[in-house]
C-alpha cells in the first residue's frame, strides 16, 4: 500500500502531537493529581440521612487532614441540602456529596467542581476557593420536572 510522502510527514507530525498531548494529560492526572472525581465509595441510597457524613450536611472544620474543611451535600429532587454556605477564602475544602433518589449533577459554576451524583455512590472533589464571591451550584444532569430549579449557593467570604 502506497502512502504519499507528504501524508507520511503529516501523520508523523499529527501522531507526535497526539503523543505529547496524551502525555501532558496523563502526567497532569496521575503525577499532579488532577484526576476526575472517582471516589469509588458506595452508600445505601435508602439510608443516606443516617450515614456519616451525610447525617450532618454543611461545612465542617476538620483537623489532621490534607484539607481544612469538609463541605457535605445531600441532593434530592429538586434541592440540595444545605441551600447556602459561607466558605472562608483560601480554605482547602473537600466537597462530599451524594443523592437520595435519581442521578443529579453537582456543578459549581465558575470553578472546576463538576461531578455526577449517582444513587449508591459518594462523589468527592478537593479544591481551594481562592476568590471571594458567590458561586452557584446547579444540577446539570436531567432529574425531572424541577431540574432547572435545583440549585444552591456557596459564598466565599473574607
Amino acid at each position: 500500500m502506497h502512502m504519499h510522502k507528504f501524508e507520511k510527514i503529516w501523520l508523523t507530525f499529527g501522531i507526535s502531537a497526539l503523543v505529547v498531548f496524551l502525555t501532558v494529560v496523563g502526567v497532569s492526572a496521575f503525577y499532579l493529581g488532577n484526576k476526575p472525581p472517582s471516589c469509588l465509595t458506595t452508600i445505601n441510597v435508602d439510608k443516606v440521612d443516617q450515614t456519616k457524613p451525610f447525617d450532618k450536611p454543611g461545612l465542617h472544620k476538620v483537623e489532621g487532614k490534607d484539607w481544612d474543611y469538609e463541605l457535605v451535600y445531600v441532593a434530592a429532587a429538586f434541592s440540595y441540602n444545605p441551600l447556602k454556605v459561607e466558605v472562608p477564602v483560601g480554605a482547602k475544602v473537600k466537597v462530599i456529596a451524594t443523592t437520595k433518589d435519581v442521578v443529579h449533577g453537582f456543578e459549581v459554576a465558575g470553578t472546576n467542581i463538576n461531578m455526577m451524583l449517582e444513587p449508591g455512590y459518594v462523589s468527592e472533589y478537593t479544591t481551594t476557593f481562592d476568590k471571594t464571591g458567590e458561586y452557584l451550584i446547579v444540577c446539570n444532569e436531567y432529574c425531572g420536572a424541577g431540574h432547572h430549579l435545583m440549585s444552591s449557593m456557596i459564598e466565599v467570604v473574607k
Binding site: L40, E107, L136, V138, H148
Partner: protein, 555 residues
C-alpha cells in the same frame, strides 16, 4: 472520461423504493424534531412559554429521539442500502425482503416510543437516565428500533457477501465496503444498549424486578453512546471520500488509505465510552484514562481523512490550471450544491473536532461536562457536519431514486439553505459554547436560579440561541421544501449517483482489509481489554440497586 458509462448506472427501482421509504421517515423526523428544537430555544430565552401544558423536558425528549435516533438511523440505512445497491449491481430479492422487514420493525418501534413520549409516560430523554423509569412500551419500542436496524443492516451485509462470493480475490467496491464497516460497527455498538434495555430496563419497568443497577446501565448505554456518533459520521465520510471527488471531477486520493481509515474507525470507536463518564464516582481513574487514550486514537484516521480530502481538492484544482499555494481553492465548483453543502459541513468539522478533543480530555472535561458547551459541540458535529452532508447527499440521491432532476432553482435553494444553516448554527452553537464555559447547564429549561448573578450572565447567550434556533428552523423549512420538490415535483429525468474512482487504479487495495475475522477479532480484543476489568469491578462493588422514579411532569 472512462466514467461516462458507469455514471448512468442506476439503483434498481425496487431498491430505490426501500431507500425512499427510509427518507420519508427521516425527513418527517427532521421536520417535527426541528420544530421541537425551535421551541426549546424559545423557552430557554425566557421570553416565551409552552402552551397547553406541554412540558419542556417532553419536547427535549422528542427532539433528542427524533434527531439523534430516528432521522440519523433511517437516513443512514436508506443511504447505505442505496450505495450498496449502486456499487454491487443491486440487492437480491432475499436482501430486499430483509431490508423491508427491518424497515417496518424500526418504524413500529419508533411509533411505540413516540406514543409513550407524547403521553408523558417517557420524559427520560433519549439517554434514559435510570433510575428514572419510563413506561415499558417506550423501552420495548426502542428495542424494536435497534433490532429492526440489525435486520435492515443485514440486507447490506448479505449483498456484500454475495458480491464477494461472485468476485473472489477482488476488493469489494469502496462504498459497499464502507457501508458494511459502518453497519458492523453499529451492530457491535448497539449490543450494549440492547443489553441494558433487555436485561435491566424492560424487566424493571414491567415490575419483574424491583431495582436497577444504575452504573451498569449507564456504562452499557455509553458503550453504545459514543460509537453512535461515529455511526452518524461515517456515512458523511463515505460521501467525502468516495462521492465528492466525482462531483468535482477529480479522483479518490487513495482507495487503500480510505479503507484503512474506516477500519481504524471500526476498531477505535467502540472501547471508549468512559470518556462520557469521566466525572462519575464509581469508575476507577486509571481505566478512565485508558479509554481516554483509546478515544484519541480516532484522531489518526481523522487526520488521514483531512489529508486525502484536501489532496483531492488541490490536485483537481491544479489540473484545472490553478497556481499558487491556495489557487486551487477558487476553482472548486462552488455553484454546485452537491459539493458546497457537504463542504460547509466538512469545514465545520475542524472546530467541531477540536471541541471533541477538549471534551474527551480528563481534566478539561471537568470544566465543560454537562454544560451547554457539549450541546454546542454536537450541534457542530452531528447537526452541521453530518446533517449538511446528508442534505447534500439527498439533493442528488432523492431525484436519482425518484427518476427526477435536481433543477437549477433547487440547486440554488440548496446552497442558500446551507448558508442559512451555517449562520443559524454559528449563533446557536457559538452561544452554547460560550455559555457552557461560564457554567450554564445543558438539558435545562429557563431558570434564573433564585436571582443568581452568574445565571443572569447566561441569559443573553440563551437569547442568542433562540435567534440561532429561529434561523435554523428557516433552514429546516427550506430543506423540507427541497426534499418534497425532489421527491414529487421536480421534472422527470436522470440524476447521476456519483461514484468516484481512485487516482491509482493499478494499485489494488490489499485483500487483508476484507479479512473480517481479523478486524472483528481485534475489535473484540480491544473492547474486552478496555471493559472487562472495570465492568467486573463495577458489578462486584455495586451498591444496593435503585428503585424506579417518575419525577417528570405528567398529563
Amino acid at each position: 472520461m472512462a466514467n461516462s458509462t458507469t455514471a448512468k448506472v442506476k439503483v434498481d427501482p425496487r431498491d430505490a423504493k426501500l431507500s425512499m421509504a427510509h427518507f420519508f421517515v427521516a425527513f418527517s423526523a427532521l421536520a417535527l424534531g426541528g420544530l421541537m428544537g425551535l421551541l426549546q430555544t424559545l423557552v430557554r430565552s425566557g421570553k416565551w412559554e409552552l402552551p397547553w401544558g406541554i412540558d419542556y423536558y417532553q419536547i427535549l425528549t422528542v427532539h433528542g429521539v427524533l434527531m439523534g435516533l430516528v432521522l440519523t438511523t433511517f437516513f443512514i440505512m436508506g443511504f447505505q442500502y442505496a450505495a450498496v445497491s449502486r456499487t454491487t449491481g443491486g440487492h437480491s430479492n432475499a436482501a430486499r425482503r430483509t431490508g423491508w422487514i427491518g424497515f417496518w420493525i424500526m418504524l413500529v418501534g419508533t411509533l411505540m416510543a413516540a406514543t409513550m413520549v407524547l403521553l408523558k409516560e417517557a420524559s427520560v430523554l433519549y439517554t434514559f437516565y435510570a433510575p428514572l423509569k419510563a413506561h415499558w412500551i417506550f423501552y420495548l419500542g426502542l428495542t424494536f428500533v435497534i433490532v429492526g436496524s440489525w435486520i435492515d443492516g443485514a440486507a447490506q451485509i448479505m449483498t456484500y457477501a454475495k458480491w464477494r462470493k461472485n468476485n473472489p480475490g477482488q476488493p469489494s467496491p469502496l462504498l459497499s465496503f464502507m457501508a458494511v464497516i459502518n453497519t458492523v460497527m453499529w451492530i457491535i455498538a448497539t449490543l450494549g444498549v440492547a443489553a441494558t434495555v433487555l436485561f435491566q430496563l424492560l424487566p424493571w419497568s414491567l415490575g419483574l424486578v424491583d431495582t436497577v443497577d444504575v452504573l451498569v446501565s449507564r456504562t452499557l448505554f455509553w458503550y453504545f453512546g459514543h460509537p453512535l456518533v461515529y455511526f452518524w459520521l461515517l456515512p458523511a465520510y463515505m460521501c467525502w471520500y468516495a462521492i465528492i471527488p466525482k462531483i468535482i471531477g477529480g479522483k479518490i486520493f487513495s482507495d487503500s488509505l480510505a479503507r484503512l481509515s474506516f477500519i481504524l474507525f471500526l476498531l477505535f470507536s467502540i472501547p471508549v465510552g468512559f470518556h462520557h463518564q469521566l466525572t462519575e464516582p464509581g469508575i476507577d481513574p486509571a481505566w478512565k484514562f485508558l479509554q481516554v487514550i483509546l478515544t484519541f486514537m480516532v484522531i489518526i484516521p481523522s487526520l488521514m481523512t483531512a489529508f486525502s480530502l484536501f489532496a483531492t481538492f488541490e490536485r483537481y484544482g491544479r489540473s484545472k490550471g490553478a497556481t499558487g499555494l491556495f489557487g486551487w481553492f477558487k476553482v472548486l465548483p462552488w455553484g454546485d450544491a452537491r459539493f458546497t453543502v457537504p463542504f460547509i459541513g466538512m469545514a465545520s468539522f475542524i472546530p467541531a473536532g477540536a471541541g471533541g478533543i477538549i471534551n474527551a480530555s480528563n481534566q478539561m472535561d471537568q470544566v465543560v461536562h454537562n454544560t451547554i458547551w457539549v450541546t454546542g459541540h454536537f450541534h457542530l458535529t452531528a447537526a452541521t457536519s453530518v446533517v449538511l452532508t446528508f442534505f447534500g447527499i439527498s439533493y442528488w440521491l432523492v431525484p436519482h431514486l425518484t427518476g427526477r432532476k435536481l433543477t437549477k432553482a433547487m440547486n440554488k435553494l440548496g446552497i442558500i439553505q446551507a448558508w442559512v444553516w451555517f449562520i443559524g448554527m454559528a449563533f446557536m452553537s457559538g452561544a452554547m459554547h460560550f455559555q457552557g464555559l461560564l457554567g450554564g447547564p445543558r438539558r435545562s429549561a429557563f431558570s434564573t436560579y433564585g436571582g443568581s448573578k452568574q445565571a443572569a450572565e447566561w441569559i443573553p447567550y440563551q437569547i442568542a440561541q433562540a435567534v440561532g434556533g429561529t434561523i435554523l428552523f428557516i433552514g429546516i423549512i427550506l430543506v423540507i421544501i427541497i426534499f418534497i420538490n425532489l421527491a414529487f415535483f421536480a421534472p422527470k429525468g436522470e440524476e447521476e449517483f456519483p461514484v468516484a474512482v481512485a487516482e491509482n487504479l493499478e494499485e489494488k487495495a490489499p485483500m487483508v482489509f476484507e479479512n473480517w475475522k481479523l478486524w472483528l477479532g481485534i475489535a473484540a480484543a480491544l473492547i474486552l481489554f478496555a471493559y472487562t476489568i472495570p465492568f467486573i469491578d463495577i458489578i462486584q462493588n455495586a451498591p444496593p440497586g435503585s428503585k424506579g422514579f417518575q419525577t417528570w411532569s405528567k398529563w
